[in-house]
Each structure stands twice: as C-alpha cells, then as structure tokens.
C-alpha cells in the first residue's frame, strides 16, 4: 500500500521531526510513503478567516498536488478535516477528502492496526482532542486505543475535549480570550509531564502559553508518541 504524506505547513516548519516519525512509523508497517514535494498549505487559515476565493485557490492547488495519491495521510486533525469536510464545498468534489485521513484514524480505521507495540509502558500522558478531529472527523477513540495499547496511561482530563483557544487567526484576533482559553486548559491539567495532540496549532498555542507561565510541561505531536509506541516493540 502506498501513502502520500501531507505534512501540512505547520508540520513542515514546526514539527519536522514528528512528521519524520510518522514516516518511520508507516514504513515500519510496510507502507510505502511518498512525499509530493509541491505541497504547501491546505488553505485552512484563509478559509476560517472568511477569505473564500483564496482558500479555493489553495484547495485547488492541493488537490492537484495529491491527484495521484492512493491515500493521503496527515499528522493533523484539522487539516484532514479541511480536506474532507470543506474541500467538497470549495471544489464541488469530495474525491480527495474521501481518501485523506488523520494519522491515527488511518492506522486504526484503514489499516486495522490497534496495537503498535509496547513502547509507552509506564508513561503518563494527557490527550488534547483537537476540535475538528473530534467534531468533524469523529476521531476520538483511535488515538486513545493506540496510546493505551502501547502501555501509556492517558490520565482523565476534565477539559480534554474543550477548545484550547487556538482557532487559527482567532488566536491573534482575540488574543486575550484565546490565552484565557489556554489557561483554562492548563489550569485543569492533571499531573502529567506530557500533553499529546494530533493538532500542531493547538500544541504551539498551549506550549507557548505554558512556557510564558513557566510551566515545565512537554507538548508533543501524536505522531512522535506513536512512533515511540512502535519503536519500543521488541
């Protein structure tokens, strides 16, 4: 099986190592991974800000880049949701969205993998559900399954499904509200050293706030944790 990785703009610049972990993970499952080098950004920032013609141009461009892909896998819930739930509206076709998946969703729902390995034995994690992965893609149990089956303890977090306040340009258009939302997440966080999420924007936002507050918490991409889960497998 062949997978085309859509690393996403945030992934390319800010989560390069995590995206490389996604490649390692997929290859370890005997998946052939390619990387169409013309890829850029899915257009979500423009779409969310109401700039529809620009978003449509970016969507058309991305659809062209991935025209030959068998499956498109993204280490990002909200970009996967953009392709599946918004592109049909922009492009009049659901074709690309139907073969595009968030990473954990692809592993569990398409490959049928629920156990990657035991590499997270003894780890205490908190999981932040990105809103679009959760509510648009319906991705909720898949990352939990993969993390816990690798031995991690995902500690219950009252606010794990509440928005962190990133919201794309919302984070800079209403920064005080956005930060207060991050604070609510951080203030309710159980005692863990690592917070995991499938969404880069949420991670940058929560991490930026936690560092400003001097909190020593690691914010990590789900792809990296899943590779750790696998790699630890004897």
């Amino acid at each position: 099986m062949r997978v085309s990785l859509f690393v996403t703009c945030l992934g390319d610049r800010f989560f390069a190592d995590a995206a490389a972990d996604a490649v390692r993970l997929l290859r370890s499952l005997d998946i052939e991974v390619d990387f169409p080098t013309g890829q850029t950004c899915c257009g979500q920032p423009a779409w969310n800000a109401g700039h529809v013609p620009e978003a449509r141009r970016m969507a058309a461009y991305t659809a062209k880049v991935f025209a030959d892909a068998e499956h498109v896998v993204l280490p990002s819930g909200s970009c996967a949701a953009m392709l599946r739930c918004t592109y049909p509206h922009l492009l009049g076709s659901s074709e690309l969205g139907e073969r595009s998946y968030e990473l954990a969703e692809f592993l569990v729902d398409v490959l049928g993998v629920t156990v990657l390995g035991g590499g997270l034995e003894g780890r205490r994690l908190a999981y932040h559900h990105g809103c679009h992965a959760l509510r648009e893609l319906g991705v909720q149990s898949q990352p939990m399954q993969l993390l816990t089956s690798a031995g991690a303890r995902v500690v219950p977090w009252e606010m794990d499904q509440e928005c962190c306040g990133f919201g794309g340009l919302f984070s800079v258009k209403a920064p005080e509200v956005s930060v207060a939302m991050a604070d609510r997440k951080l203030e309710t966080l159980p005692e863990v050293e690592t917070v995991v999420s499938a969404d880069g924007g949420c991670l940058l936002h929560l991490d930026g706030r936690a560092r400003r507050r001097g909190m020593g918490i690691h914010f990590r991409s789900l792809a990296s944790l899943l590779w750790e889960a696998r790699r630890g497998n004897p």
């Binding site: 690393v7 703009c9 992934g11 390319d12 610049r13 800010f14 989560f15 390069a16 190592d17 995206a19 490389a20 490649v23 390692r24 990387f35 080098t37 013309g38 890829q39 850029t40 950004c41 423009a46 779409w47 969310n48 800000a49 109401g50 700039h51 529809v52 620009e54 141009r57 970016m58 461009y61 809103c131 679009h132 509510r135 648009e136 509440e162 928005c163 306040g165 990133f166 919201g167 794309g168 340009l169 919302f170 984070s171 800079v172 258009k173 209403a174 920064p175 005080e176 509200v177 930060v179 207060a180 939302m181 991050a182 609510r184 936002h205 991490d207 930026g208 706030r209 560092r211 400003r212």
Partner: protein, 464 residues
C-alpha cells in the same frame, strides 16, 4: 438598545484583565447549566428530538405569514388586541398609547430579551413609568444598571458577594445574607410592585398559531404574577416564535427547558390566550391583553437564504453555556443584547454586519455549540457565512487581508513557499515579536520554536 460590538476585543480584554472574577463566575455557572443539560437528555433520544424540533421550526418559518395570521385571528376571537410592529419605535408607540390611555404609573416586567433588544426600559422610564424587573436576576442587574449577560441567567457574571453588597446598599440586608434572605428581600419589594402596578409586561417563549396561545416558561412565579395581577398585560413576541399546532407545544416546552437548565420543564408554564374573564364579580386576569408581534429585522433575515436558519433559535442559551469563548468573558464583551455563538449569527442578521462585525470572528469555530443546539442550527457554518461577507465588504483588518493574500500567493507557488519557510527560520525573535499578528501572539505566549530544518529538508536528506 445601544450596540458596542465593534469594541469586542477591547471589552473582552478589559473583562479578562480587570475583572477576573467574572470569568470564574461565568465558567462555573455555565458548566453547571451544561452538566444539567447533559443529564436531562440522558435517557432520551436527543437526536430524534432535535431533528423533530428543527423540522417544526423550519416549517413554521417557511410558512410564517399563514401561521401568524392564524394566531392573530385566534387571539382576536378571544378579545386580545394584536399589534404588528416592524421597528423598535413601532413598539414604543404602542406602549406610549397604552401608558397615556390608562395613565400607567408603575409597571412590572417579566424577563424578556426582546424588550432589551428594542430598548423598552429606557423608553418607558422616559415616559415617566416606574419599572420593576421581577425576575430575580433581572432585578439584580436593573439595580446595577447593567444589561443582561446571558439569555437565561442575566446576572450569572455576578457572584454571591456582589449581590450581598448590592442588596446591603439598596435594601439594607446584612453583608452576609444568605441567598434565601436575599431572595426574600427582593420578594418584599416586588410583591408590593405586583400589587400596585397598572401594567404587566412579558415576552413569549412560543406563540401557538392553532389556538392563539402564548406560552411562557419560568421558575420564580414572577411571570405568572406580572401577567395576571395588573389591569393590563402586554406580551412582546418576536414573529419567529410561532409554532403551528397545540400538539407541538409540550415537546418544545420540554426541549427548551432541558436545554436551558436541565429541568424536565420549567417550574411554571403559563398559557395565555386572552384577557381575564369575570369569575363572579372578580376578573381572573387583566382587563386588557395586548400582543405585539415584533419584526425588528426578522423578515429581512428570513429572506436571507444563507443565514435564515438562525431564526429557529428558542433562546435556551445552551450554545452560550458550552462555548469556551463565552465562558472567558460572559456576555458583556459582545456589546449586543444576544451574546455568545447565537448572538454572533443573529446580530448581523437583525441589525446589520456593519455594527456587529467582530462578533462572527469571536469564535474559534470549535463546533461545541452546534452539538447542543436543540433546533440544530448549524452555528459554525453561519458564523462562516458572516465572516465571508465581512471580508467581501472590506470590513476586516487591512493588514490581515494583505498577509493572507501573500500567503495565498506563496501556497500556490512552492518555490516562494520554500523561501517564506526559510525566512521564518532566520528572522530574529526580537523582530518577529514586533510584526503584526505575531505581536498579538506574543502578548500572552512565547513564539513557536523554529526547528533547524523543515520536514522537506529532512526528506531530501533521507529519513532513516
């Protein structure tokens, strides 16, 4: 009512920074409302109920003229006086006439968001009418001189201590009075007002076309008193409140109550179909009953094929309760009578986008609101419709527009995109901190750490 929505960001910042206790009070209250809502639907097929409610409201709205005329005919048959008001000033004129004709000196008011929308209180006060808000929350904010901050709980932004201090100053209760003692003190004032008022004013949760019935849901009994004790009762009803059949009402009463507070149904439900009748020598209700059917932009919104669905709203407040943006500030940040997600999609429709433009952007588009809406209003989709229009009409920030134009150009030209990525890695942080948008990011957050290489570069080198 004055609209201050254009200052959303400044108002939100002020509330968060200067009155942090508001965030605590609002978060606690809305979480409690939402917990109760969840529990109330536990043993029901919530989705079936929501689909049914959506269908009934959509049908009523798309056949609005015939149902309103049916409602009017039934009300007239029972001796009600029906007024059609296109604007706030049309409503004011009806009141002016009633006040002059009956020499009204004192009025008691049940909770009505529509009355806030049309600025009724200041108008009546200018007419020389002494006005008492009789819902406890509304009474509190009337004493404070504040507008409501939530559709259902108008004073949820205030703490017990705030109310203890207020009542101590105004009603002479002890500083440490219990909630029960505070309610008793308000009750003493309001009981006298009920017995001496000439005019009672209410809103209406639903107007049943088939029977000409106005239904009102409440918990305190003040609506029943306001609508039955004074000589005259005036009900303000938005034209979108119509339900076709009597048989629709029970389920709507339940769905609304459960969504609002988690109660199976409000403690009191009043059904009013006409003025009082004589029972022996005594009338059992007001001598005169007026219904004002209010438009105030609703017809215009209904004619908007992309945004009309917001009119299905039953004003339960569930979308506010679950909204993480609303929870940080409460309703006053929005500067408009209807706050939270629902306010951001009916405000632009009722009063225009020019006055309310930041509101559709006051959302992270997380989608929590849509999940709880009992009439399945696609709130994020409608927020996006208004965002799109704001951009098309040039109502958004110019710098943002330029940056997005640049981004769109880079995205569709991979070489340019590569340069932008490289640029991000070499701009020193002290410069980034001063750039538009990044400056706003950096005001409360550290800037993201740019890793040495992009994934693109790692890929070219080969991933082991």
């Amino acid at each position: 009512m004055e609209i201050h929505s254009r200052d959303y960001r400044q108002r939100a910042r002020h509330i968060i920074q200067e009155t942090p206790e508001v965030r605590e009070a609002v978060t606690a209250a809305t979480q409690t409302f939402d917990d109760h809502r969840r529990a109330a639907f536990d043993d029901l097929d919530r989705d079936a109920l929501r689909r049914w409610a959506e269908g009934v409201k959509s049908h009523a709205l798309t056949h609005l003229e015939e149902y309103l005329q049916e409602a009017e005919a039934r009300l007239l048959e029972r001796g009600a006086q029906v007024h059609w008001a296109e604007t706030a000033s049309d409503v004011h004129q009806v009141f002016q006439h009633i006040v002059a004709k009956h020499g009204v000196r004192r009025a008691v008011k049940a909770k009505s968001m529509l009355s806030e929308e049309i600025g009724l209180n200041p108008f009546l006060e200018a007419c020389g009418v002494e006005l008492f808000e009789t819902d406890l929350g509304e009474y509190i904010i009337q004493l404070l001189g504040e507008p409501p901050s939530h559709i259902v709980g108008p004073a949820i932004h205030r703490s017990l201590e705030d109310v203890q201090g207020l009542f101590h100053d105004r009603l002479g209760t002890p500083f440490d009075a219990s909630p029960e003692e505070l309610a008793k003190a308000a009750r003493r004032v309001l009981r006298d007002a009920f017995l001496t008022a000439d005019l009672g004013i209410s809103g209406g949760n639903f107007l049943v076309a088939e029977t000409g019935s106005i239904a009102l849901i409440e918990n305190e009994g003040n609506i029943r008193m306001s609508t039955s004790l004074p000589r005259i009762h005036v009900a303000l009803v938005g034209i979108e409140k119509v339900l076709p059949r009597w048989a629709d009402l029970p389920t709507f009463l339940q769905v609304t109550s459960k969504s609002a507070t988690g109660q199976p149904v409000g403690t009191f439900v009043s059904i009013i179909q006409g003025p009082g009748c004589l029972v022996g020598q005594e009338p059992d209700g007001p001598e005169e009953f007026h219904v004002i059917l209010v438009d105030c932009g609703r017809t215009r919104l209904l004619a908007d094929p992309e945004a009309w669905e917001a009119l299905r709203c039953v004003r339960c407040g569930a979308c506010l309760n679950v909204c993480p943006v609303y929870r940080q500030t409460g309703g006053h940040a929005y500067g408009y009578v209807y706050s939270g997600p629902i306010g951001a999609i009916i405000g632009p429709g009722l009063v225009g986008l020019g006055e309310t433009v930041p509101l559709p952007f006051a959302s992270s588009l997380c989608g929590a609101c849509e999940e709880v809406c009992p009439v399945r209003i696609p709130i994020p989709k409608l927020l996006h419709v208004w965002r799109q229009r704001a951009v098309e009409r040039g109502l958004t920030d110019g710098a943002e527009r330029s940056i997005l134009d640049l981004w769109a150009a880079a995205v569709t030209h991979p070489r340019l995109f590569g340069w932008v990525e490289k640029l991000m890695a070499i701009i020193p942080e002290w410069v980034s901190r001063r750039l538009p948008m990044l400056r706003d990011w950096n005001s409360g957050r550290e800037l993201p750490v740019v890793e040495g290489r992009t994934f693109r570069e790692l890929w070219e080198e080969g991933i082991e």
